[in-house]
Symmetry: C2
Subunit: 420 residues, 2 copies
């Protein structure tokens, strides 16, 4: 096979370790110079391919690429941009092939979640139909941990470590103050449709009485009275109550609590998250003083407290993607395979994109306790190894040092406008 260029793009919400995957892709590609000439990255994800806005990663030093391993977020830019329905409008897919052809791109690496696996799969099908040989590899990434087949998703372990650490620390704080001040603390975490991140908070509670005492999952319909009774019981027993709540908590009608009617002075809706709502409910009905936090992007960007397991796995799937590509494997995704729990052992396996595209992994019901307020031992066994190990970035002047790449543009060859 003649030397060809590779295209790499980051897709969807970024994570603390997606750049570790980029590092794995680029470093490995540089070792396969017989097959891969240069790695071009899409500026702002797939949009960069559609608009022929490609970044030449060969202009970056080895040190800069190495630094991606400890840099959060998406170094080339990511985007929330779903390609149009393949069956109704193939023009976007055809445009991708046109750009790839113009830049002699023989490898397509797409780093994202369910949607991205689907896109990669369709691009591979179309390329085949159009007679353009293209190796398409999906690379898993999502803090939501909702991809099927893979045991876990790179990006998730680091969020998990952040939220568990944070609620443990806040728990110590509230415990100190409970006698005269705050009794109830609410931490809102991400995961609109699946409770994986909420569940990860539960890892901080190793012994009876440890924070968090209550978890509110998107999978469990919020029952006000049952919840308040549990809060009261916890405060009476332990002096305080720490609560982890999913942004996706829903009421009995299936409505998000966060959309249940917050209004500012001008009548604007939907200002707040669910944490202030829950906290206020507790204050109103039980009279306890509260504090609440919304971690938002801090949780998924917190490279300073990344899980070493996660960093290693994120790098490994990037490396494996290139290794698979140069072996000629097409329409596949490297995945994490759990070999054993104690000791935790994992390896990188291979899955077909069609088996992953557009499917969603939900939390098994037996990962949540029967009362719906915490995680089970089985869940803990699954989650615990994913947050293991520390991999701090270098620090300078007291702050983590993260790399900003040059991101030099590849000269355009088509020079045709494409509306996105």
């Amino acid at each position: 096979m003649a030397r060809q260029n590779a295209f790499y793009a980051q897709s969807g919400g970024v994570t603390a370790t997606i750049n570790a995957t980029a590092c794995g892709v680029i470093e490995t590609a540089r070792k396969h110079r017989n097959s891969i000439s240069k790695v071009y990255a899409g500026r702002d994800g797939i949009i960069g391919a559609l608009t022929e806005d490609l970044i030449d990663t060969s202009k970056e030093s080895a040190a800069a690429i190495r630094a991606l391993r400890h840099t959060p977020a998406g170094a080339f830019g990511s985007c929330r941009y779903k390609l149009k329905d393949f069956d109704k409008d193939r023009s976007q897919y055809e445009r991708l092939i046109e750009v790839f052809r113009a830049h002699n791109i023989g490898y397509f690496f797409y780093n994202g979640g369910n949607d991205s696996a689907d896109t990669s799969y369709k691009v591979s099908q179309l390329a085949h139909k159009l007679g353009y040989p293209l190796i398409c590899i999906g690379i898993p990434k999502t803090v939501d941990n909702d991809l099927v087949v893979t045991d876990c998703c790179p990006g998730f372990g680091s969020v998990a470590k952040y939220v568990a650490t944070s609620i443990r620390e806040a728990g110590f704080d509230v415990a100190s103050m409970a006698r005269t001040s705050t009794r109830v603390f609410v931490l809102e975490v991400m995961g609109r449709h699946a409770g994986w991140i909420t569940a990860a908070c539960g890892l901080a509670a190793e012994k009876e009485g440890d924070a968090p005492h209550i978890l509110l999952f998107p999978e469990v319909t919020f029952d006000t009275d049952k919840f308040l009774a549990r809060v009261k019981d916890t405060v009476e027993k332990h002096g305080y109550c720490a609560i982890g709540v999913s942004e996706g908590l829903r009421d009995a009608e299936g409505k998000f609590l966060s959309e249940s009617g917050l209004r500012d002075a001008f009548g604007h809706a939907q200002l707040g998250g669910v944490a202030p709502l829950i906290a206020n409910l507790v204050k109103d009905r039980l009279g306890y003083k509260y504090h609440w936090a919304v971690a938002d992007y801090l949780q998924r960007a917190a490279r300073h407290i990344a899980s070493k397991t996660d960093v290693d796995q994120a790098y490994a799937v990037g490396k494996a993607a290139v290794d698979l590509a140069v072996k000629g494997r097409n329409a596949v995704m490297p995945v994490i395979v759990r070999k054993s729990n104690r000791p935790y052992q994992w390896a990188v396996g291979v899955a077909e994109l069609k088996d992953i595209a557009n499917k969603e992994k939900h939390m098994p019901r037996d990962f949540i306790t029967e009362d719906g307020f915490h995680i089970t031992a089985k869940c803990r066994q699954y989650l615990a190894p994913l947050i293991a190990g520390e991999a701090p970035p270098p620090f300078k002047n007291g702050l983590p040092v993260y790399v900003k790449l040059k991101n030099a543009a590849v000269p355009k060859k088509l020079n045709t406008e494409f509306k996105i």
Copy 2:
């Protein structure tokens, strides 16, 4: 001087490093067995003294005390409890002396902010009047960094490091996503009356274009139009805008923005913080997609990302307090003295409690840029050394290991009820 016991109490909002001070006090006292018999801690702060609820720290192992150095929050409990006005009602002060007398306490160490310095000072005066020899030492602690005389306050440097790290990380995240998604990110931080923590966010911006781009200080009246113009300008120039805002931001009438009229569906006021308000304003007026975070207790409990400088200083003031006490110094507070900026050198000095009590250190106006939206080079020079160095706690199973003490009670001797 005959051997006497010492009393130590933690006061007010806890920090990531107040236990490092407790560690300094107890470890140093254990080296002065000729003067100090045992260290008794107040359970839940000064309330423990008033109610004769004392903790015998001699029951804790050397390893447990050593672990306080890396454990956030208040190991013995703290409280928000201000003693009554000394001139109107001395009964609480007299009760303290009564308890101290019963337990042969000759040393009073009070670890807190302005109020605590004032209490320590008054207790020392009253003890003298009542003919009860008592050495009273205040020990500085506050995330607000608002004590006078001392160059900085133990507890502040670690919050500063946390907020600067967090907004840097979130900045990388938003920069990645700005093309199609979030353009504006707002992080709300503590500091209701002084902008020290807001200013610390600014340390993350080392180069033109770095996050945060805008800081909203409690010292600078919020000007909607000027702010929106700056946001627009920043997004147009850099593609996104990261904002650090103080919870104490006020409007032209001096009213907290956070109290300006958030209501839930039932009409309950004051659910939210100021971050959602600011974010919504940006959305409404400029149309940018936003995200916001409220760090709340996470920032002051974040021992995992504590400043080594802060940990060392927190320990040092604890140690110095005991050293001063056994030398017979009374009504004083060990303070941090800055010896030089480059290289940063500091030492522990001594201040009179009466010079610290009830005074507040404000941010100098020349620490804020003329436009009111960022910090000056002078401010950066002051703040930078305070976040320097890392002092991570030990980790086990992927999570920081924090100690919970036995907190065994000292048998009561008075057995008289005292209403608090």
